[in-house]
Amino acid sequence: MIDILIWLVALPLAGALAALLLPRYATAIVISTAIATSISAAALLYAVATHGVMLYEIGGWPAGLGIALRADGLAALLLTMSALVLLASSIYAGAYFRENLLRSRFWPLWLLLWTALNALLLSGDLFNLYVTLELLGLSAVALASLAGKTAAMQAALRYLLVGLLGSMLFLAGVTLIYAGYGTLDMATLSRVVAAGPIAWSALALMTVGLLLKTALFPLHFWLPPAHASAPAPVSAVLSALVVKATFYLVMRLWLDIFSEVVIPQVASLLGILGAAAVLWGSWQALRAERLKLLAAYSTVAQLGYLFLFFPLLQALPAGAARDAAMGGLVILALSHGLAKSGLFLAIGIIQQRSGHDTIRDLDGTAQRLPATTFAIALSGTALIGLPPSGAFLGKWHLLSAAFSAGQWLWIIVIMIGTLLAAAYTFRVLGHAFGQQPYPRHPVTIAIEEWPALILTAFATIGLGLAGAPVWQLLKVSL
């Protein structure tokens, strides 16, 4: 059972290599690998829920000398969400890319991205995290540049340079940690790290590096062009998973390893930047002309919400209120992952059928693509945070945490952000429901519309009902 941890990394890697060697069967290999990996992720979730934190020492060497893989509730939840998003997006991508040429280059890189994600979420070693970050960054850039247009390549190059800078800063932090504590194992470090110049400097360096990769305001400039010009399934994974993975690392650093080192003022700084991200991102999304740009800016805003939790988690003492806030954070992250990927997939369908994604020219979409429009509407509910979506639960807990901690500023920010989100969602839906004078026959739901529907349905209804299990799982922590 413990082997499941390494299978989660070995399966997509083996699939990538197989897809490269046997291009004729690549699609079949990828879909079966996707299914196998998703089943493994679900199995891990079950195993963590029943057995607690899982530890796997690779090579049999003790953690420290060797590299350990660790899974707790948070990692298992994120892994399952990634598996769901990637499985749905793989099915979508199979129908999206027509030419075999593109597929033979796409599939291996796609599975390598999945390998990187799983490896990152499971890693228990700081330098191993650096390697997974680089693998994630390079595969994401390679996939983003597949669109082939100049704008896409410019955005991909900027993404690459920013990503490399972030990784370099992260590595500098890891170096300081090794210099000061002589170990790279995260569990050992969470016991021995103490406040001091080494810990502060290392945390600062690693956080800035990760914030660059998570696109927190004002380091977000690279995200909208990169996510907007990538092919639709790639945008879905970039917005939903890749930035979430680096955010997960910020969480691990701040709440787990360096929890005793963090100063409240710096946590407030993160909160302020998050607030700026919410306001700026939502405003830019409202002004966006294209659907994909709207979705990309919405990602910037939604990530801002996640950072609002940091000052609150810092201020609340350990107890029920803090646990509820943590639960809210995770549910909000999961909800955004599912909703945003569904949104990007739906936009991709519109882009393919209509040839464009300009918001003003969306008339008639509801008539021609009713399922896709419904998916966009569901995604919008999850992004705004209307009940019964998981995001509603998340924002509710964010608000109650702000109330209990007495930090009123965030409440105003959340309200403005939610209003703006409602504005840009209804703007899109308003255009989409515009009637065309001569409606064409409504198209039945094609295979590529199912993934978007399922993902957004999960985000709204599934997560809303799954609040309690998520809370339970989060208690299983390192």
Binding site: V131, E134, M153, L160, L165, M168, T175
Partner: protein, 95 residues
């Protein structure tokens, strides 16, 4: 602490800071990639300095392994970045 630690540690930090300055300020993309590589070399220098234990003792092999991995990762990223730049330049030329 050995003199070598002082010297090389200091210079590693300086190289990293200089590299960062160039990444942020230089105009040309190519120069920024070179600056990223220089920054990387700075970090590697800090790592190797940590591993050094003196002229008579065996150094700590773990940072050496880390730097080896880092060098290979850096060259992969550089190669991808350079290909992207070349593609972009070709697109510009054909405009």
């Amino acid at each position: 602490m050995l003199t070598a630690h002082w010297l090389y540690g200091l210079s590693g930090c300086l190289i990293m800071a200089l590299g960062l300055r160039a990444v942020l300020l230089n105009d040309s993309l190519l120069q920024r990639i070179i600056a990223l590589n220089v920054m990387g070399t700075g970090v590697f220098m800090i790592l190797i300095t940590i591993a050094y234990r003196g002229p008579d003792a065996t150094p700590d092999p773990i940072p050496h392994a880390l730097v080896l991995t880092g060098i290979v990762v850096a060259v992969s990223a550089t190669a991808l970045a350079l290909t992207l730049i070349r593609r972009l330049t070709e697109e510009q030329d054909s405009d």
